[in-house]
């Protein structure tokens, strides 16, 4: 039956097991007559240290899937297993606490993780440096640009030393230039830390720019349509021809999927 488990990776010998495993996961919203199948028997594995991008049109259940992995929701059937010390989730909105400064937001995350008082200051500084916001620690979220807010949210997500990072269209609301820079930033961070990242987006180029693998979901019900390994080396550029080429073929496939819904309105 439905269950979500978080196993501690400190156990020796599970080094080869995937960080995230979904096994025939279904999620149904509503009841009998007007039930919506957000996810239909989705099976997916994300290896430790892998960067996987989930892509799909509206209603493909991408966010639902993230919520299940984040343990914010339970699957109707199937199992979700996360093997990691800690999972953190970033949203499209920064979801920073508006009454706290940048520093206060990160500090609170650390305190909620029971980081000893004596280490707080140093850790906050480290995290601010990691996202290049050293100078803006005393600003409040509303005083920052969207990109800076998302960098703060990233620092907060990393504060708890998560090894699995779930990202739900984190750069969806940013302008193109800021987004490109944050891609570089995230890529560098991922290369450095060996995080496992599951990244949801509706931007095909973004998915190809970032992922080791791009997973295309169908809409209503959400099923895995296709998986695309991305072979080009890093650091990548979003405007490189390799990225563009693969993105074009994924887009074609995605449009085909969207057309299917236009032909047979259900």
């Amino acid at each position: 039956m439905a269950q979500t488990q978080t196993l501690d990776s400190v156990l020796e010998g599970d080094g080869d097991l995937p960080a995230i495993s979904l096994d025939a996961v279904s999620k149904v919203f509503g009841h009998a007559g007007d039930a919506t199948h957000a996810l239909d028997r989705v099976s997916l594995e994300v290896a430790k240290g892998e960067f996987v991008c989930l892509i799909g049109a509206s209603g493909c259940g991408k966010s639902t899937l993230l919520n299940l992995v984040a343990d914010l929701d339970q699957p109707t059937s199937g199992t979700v297993t996360v093997r990691g010390k800690r999972t953190s989730l970033m949203f499209q909105e920064s979801a920073l606490f508006p009454w706290q400064t940048v520093r206060g937001n990160i500090d609170l995350a650390l305190r909620l993780d029971n980081v000893p008082k004596s280490e707080l200051k140093g850790r906050v500084r480290e995290l601010l440096e990691m996202v290049h916001l050293e100078e803006f620690g005393d600003k409040r979220p509303h005083e920052l640009s969207g990109g800076m807010r998302q960098r703060t949210a990233l620092a907060r997500a990393l504060a708890q030393q998560a090894d699995v990072l779930l990202m739900d269209e984190p750069f969806g609301a940013l302008d193109a230039m800021t987004r490109d820079l944050l891609h570089d930033e995230l890529e560098a961070l991922w290369t450095r830390t060996g995080l496992t990242v599951l990244f949801v987006t509706h931007n095909v180029r973004e998915a190809v720019r970032l992922g080791n693998r791009v997973v295309l979901l169908t809409s209503r019900p959400g099923r895995i349509a296709e998986e695309y390994p991305v072979d080009s080396g890093r650091p990548r550029r979003i405007d490189s021809s390799q990225v563009a080429e693969l993105a074009a073929s994924i887009t074609d496939r995605l449009r085909e999927e969207v057309r299917r819904h236009g032909d047979s309105p259900s």
């Binding site: 984040a70 914010l72 999972t87 953190s88 989730l89 949203f91 909105e93 979801a95 920073l96 606490f97 508006p98 009454w99 706290q100 609170l108 995350a109 909620l112 993780d113 290049h132 916001l133 803006f136 409040r140 979220p141 509303h142 005083e143 920052l144 640009s145 990109g147 800076m148 960098r151 907060r156 708890q160 230039m177 800021t178 820079l181 570089d184 930033e185 560098a188």
Partner: protein, 285 residues
């Protein structure tokens, strides 16, 4: 990677708009002159009504007579206002304590919220003066009766502000808090309470207005011998009759209301709203 860092820093610098801070003096002036203008117009209208001869000057004296009365006996008005304000402040703080406790208890359970929540709203619509007969029967003519009515007038607003604030915590913040591992009391203290603060302060402000109204009604009804208060002055002015004194008392009541509202609660609200980014910093000036 140095380029990315430099580019990010460049964007940061460009995106943070340079705040156009006006000088403190010009801000105060900008906030004050419309109010002064409104007061001048109101006084002018009052004077016009007097000049029109609608009522005898004895019944409706002009602003000059009233303000002369006010300044000649300023000491009396101040001591009466002190008595009234003291009652208001004590009653208000008791109401805040009770309202907050009720809010905090009710908000933790959905059943209590639907049961007590609507009753709290119902209490708010009940005119406080309707409580006085019962208060007098229960507590006699005295301070306790007045206090009772202030508290019952103000506490529901405070409780309601608290409950509404908690109810309106943005769901995305609750999800973020959950991901960060905030549960139970920790979540309540670090996330729910601060998220509720702006609405709670709105409730305090409304609670004060209710307390002030209830109190003045109470002072008209429950007059305690040997203790001059604004409410009692109003009634004495009418009965003597000393109409300039009556109007002067009204002016004092109005001025206190305006001052407390803008200097205490208005300031508190603005500070919080600005800090939370609920108002544009430029518009807040």
């Amino acid at each position: 990677m140095a380029t990315v860092q430099a580019e990010l820093a460049g964007l940061d610098a460009l995106e943070l708009a340079v705040p156009r801070r006006r000088s403190r003096r010009s801000r105060i002036w900008a906030a004050t002159w419309p109010k002064l203008g409104a007061v001048t117009i109101a006084l002018l209208l009052w004077q016009l009504v007097v000049w029109s001869g609608w009522k005898e000057e004895f019944v409706l004296p002009g602003p000059v007579t009233v303000f002369k009365e006010l300044f000649e006996n300023l000491g009396d008005y101040i001591s009466a206002a002190a008595v009234t304000l003291q009652r208001a402040v004590i009653g208000f703080f008791v109401a805040v304590a009770i309202g907050t406790v009720i809010g905090a208890v009710v908000v933790r359970s959905r059943i209590l919220r639907s049961a007590v929540g609507s009753m709290v709203t119902g209490l708010m619509t009940m005119p406080s003066i309707a409580w006085f007969p019962a208060a007098i029967v229960l507590f006699g003519f005295g301070e306790i009766a007045i206090l009772f009515v202030i508290v019952i007038g103000a506490a529901p607003s405070v409780a309601n502000g608290f409950i509404a604030g908690v109810d309106n915590t943005p769901p995305i913040l609750m999800r973020a808090a959950r991901m960060l591992g905030a549960r139970g009391w920790t979540n309540f203290r670090h996330v729910v309470l601060p998220a509720a603060l702006p609405t709670y302060v709105g409730g305090l402000k409304q609670g004060w207005a209710f307390a002030w109204r209830s109190l003045l009604a109470g002072e008209l009804l429950v007059q305690i011998a040997g203790k001059a208060s604004l409410g009692r002055d109003l009634d004495t002015g009418r009965q003597l009759p000393d109409f300039p004194a009556m109007y002067a008392t009204m002016v004092v009541i109005f001025v206190i209301g305006v001052l407390v509202d803008s200097l205490v609660f208005g300031k508190m609200e603005r500070t919080i709203r600005r800090r939370y980014g609920l108002i544009d910093a430029a518009a807040a000036d």
